[in-house]
């Protein structure tokens, strides 16, 4: 009789010892996960902000006499493609993340080509409207850099958390997966230089 009580007690204690940390780490994972999602929406916001600036920029540049049409269409095309690529943060995978990064990277590179060719139009560069756009674009690129950094830091924290033993076991039970983050080498990381 006594023995069974002891055995049941030991089992109960062991169960508590496993359930309590599991409970805690599950809750922590939820918090981290939400932080990453919130940060991702900030990343999408600032990229969207850049996409919103492009029509203005293109219209302003169009005003300059015989500006190369091709550069402009490339920017508009890259923008159109990038608008289509969005990520539902709860369904973020390595694949769709790379797609997103690629689409935005194309916007970055087409924009920097545009800004390079604008250098040949000193009159255009001197206009107030272009200067305003230039400062908005500079601010937006800075915002993108900041939000990307914040997002990547949060994902790294989250990944490190769910990969440690024994949390990795709970993470796999509750389907918390590793999340992708921005790598500096990617094309998109190189913010187009807006300075002249």
């Amino acid at each position: 009789m006594r023995q069974t009580i002891i055995i049941i007690g030991v089992i109960l204690v062991l169960a508590l010892l496993t359930v309590v940390p599991m409970y805690n780490s599950y809750n922590k994972m939820v918090v981290y996960d939400e932080q990453v999602k919130a940060s991702w929406s900030q990343v999408e916001n600032v990229y969207q902000r850049r996409l919103d600036l492009i029509p203005n920029l293109v219209n302003t540049v169009k005003g300059a006499a015989n500006f190369e049409k091709e550069t402009l269409t490339q920017v508009m095309e890259a923008r159109a493609k990038a608008t289509q690529v969005t990520i539902d943060p709860s369904k973020m995978t390595k694949e769709n993340f790379e797609q997103y990064q690629e689409a935005q990277g194309k916007v970055s590179s087409s924009l920097s080509r545009l800004l390079v060719s604008v250098e040949n139009y000193p009159q255009l560069r001197a206009t107030e409207s272009f200067k305003e756009l230039q400062s908005q674009l500079e601010g937006t690129e800075n915002r993108i850099a900041v939000e990307r950094r914040k997002f990547s830091e949060l994902v790294m924290e989250y990944n490190a958390y769910i990969r440690k033993f024994p949390k990795n076991i709970y993470a796999s039970w509750f389907n918390f997966k590793e999340k992708p983050y921005f790598t500096a080498e990617k094309e998109a990381a190189k913010a187009p230089t807006v300075k002249f």
């Binding site: 009159q123 305003e132 601010g139």
Partner: protein, 284 residues
């Protein structure tokens, strides 16, 4: 130093090679230990001043009196509004983009209040030899709507760099902070600041206004033909054509930027504000 003219003997070479190897392996091990710091890069960013100060001149750009005057001005402003404007002068950007470094300083020090994120960092790297001087204004999330990127750029171009070019660092910063105060208080609107500078700039070139008008007409007609479309995001931005027009409400254009000279209290410390990268930069 005198270098030996004779070629080194073989045994000497061996010794040198051994030393070199030792040095290389030592630096390698040292780098491994330093790695976490290098990855963070945080040690390139100036540490938060102790005791906390809003004016931090690490390059000796301002005299002691000028620093005290600016500090008192900014602390007084902070006392009445809880908005923190930090002025930081660094000798070197350590390879960072100036905006990036300013944001990192703002985040590391926590300029502005937590939750309100009402901090502003003005970062300056003085002109050294042939290197251009650089300056930037970055705004916390909470003040982005009042001090937009375009306005930050205007402040730099109209108040800061012209004075800095003359070596009048205090005057430039004094004027810039006056404009920031007024913008933050909503004392005069962004439009009025733009309008004021329009007047100042008169007579620079008669061509520019004509070009602007033509471009506005082109943009407006293009917009008409494309139908309504939202260009600004989140409502925080003032659309640039409004900034350009700048004459929306001219009722208070007679406003002058008065000096701000009441006493000052002790600065209570940074509040943990966060930054999103909004702002602008310039060179002189």
């Amino acid at each position: 130093m005198n270098y030996p003219t004779k070629s080194l003997s073989e045994s000497n070479m061996k010794k040198i090679k051994q030393h070199l190897r030792a040095i290389i392996s030592f630096t390698f091990v040292a780098l491994l230990f330093l790695n976490p710091f290098l990855v963070n890069g945080q040690n390139d960013i100036p540490a938060r001043p102790e005791p906390p100060r809003l004016v931090n001149d690490m390059a000796g750009l301002l005299s002691a009196e000028e620093q005290t005057a600016l500090e008192r001005k900014l602390v007084t402003y902070y006392d009445s509004t809880s908005t923190q404007i930090a002025i930081v002068v660094v000798k070197s950007l350590n390879g960072y983009d100036i905006n990036d470094m300013a944001v990192r300083i703002g985040q590391k020090w926590g300029v502005g209040q937590k939750g309100k994120n009402n901090g502003i960092v003005i970062l300056i790297k003085p002109k050294i030899n042939n290197e251009n001087g650089k300056v930037c204004i970055v705004n916390g999330y909470g003040v982005e709507a009042l001090v937009t990127d375009a306005l930050s750029k205007r402040i730099i171009e109209n108040e800061i760099t012209p004075a800095f070019r003359e070596g009048q660092y205090y005057q430039g910063l004094n004027k810039a902070t006056n404009v920031l105060f007024s913008l933050l208080k909503g004392e005069f609107s962004a439009d009025q600041y733009m309008a004021k500078n329009k007047k100042k700039k008169k007579g620079t070139s008669p061509l520019i206004p004509i070009i602007i008008v033509i471009i506005i007409i082109i943009i407006v007609s293009n917009r008409r033909s494309q139908g309504p479309r939202s260009f600004s995001h989140g409502g925080a931005d003032i659309p640039f054509w409004m900034l350009m027009g700048g004459m929306m409400n001219s009722g208070r254009s007679g406003n002058d930027f008065g000096d701000f000279n009441s006493g000052g209290g002790d600065f209570g410390g940074f509040g943990g504000g966060d930054f999103g990268g909004g702002g602008a930069s310039g060179e002189w």
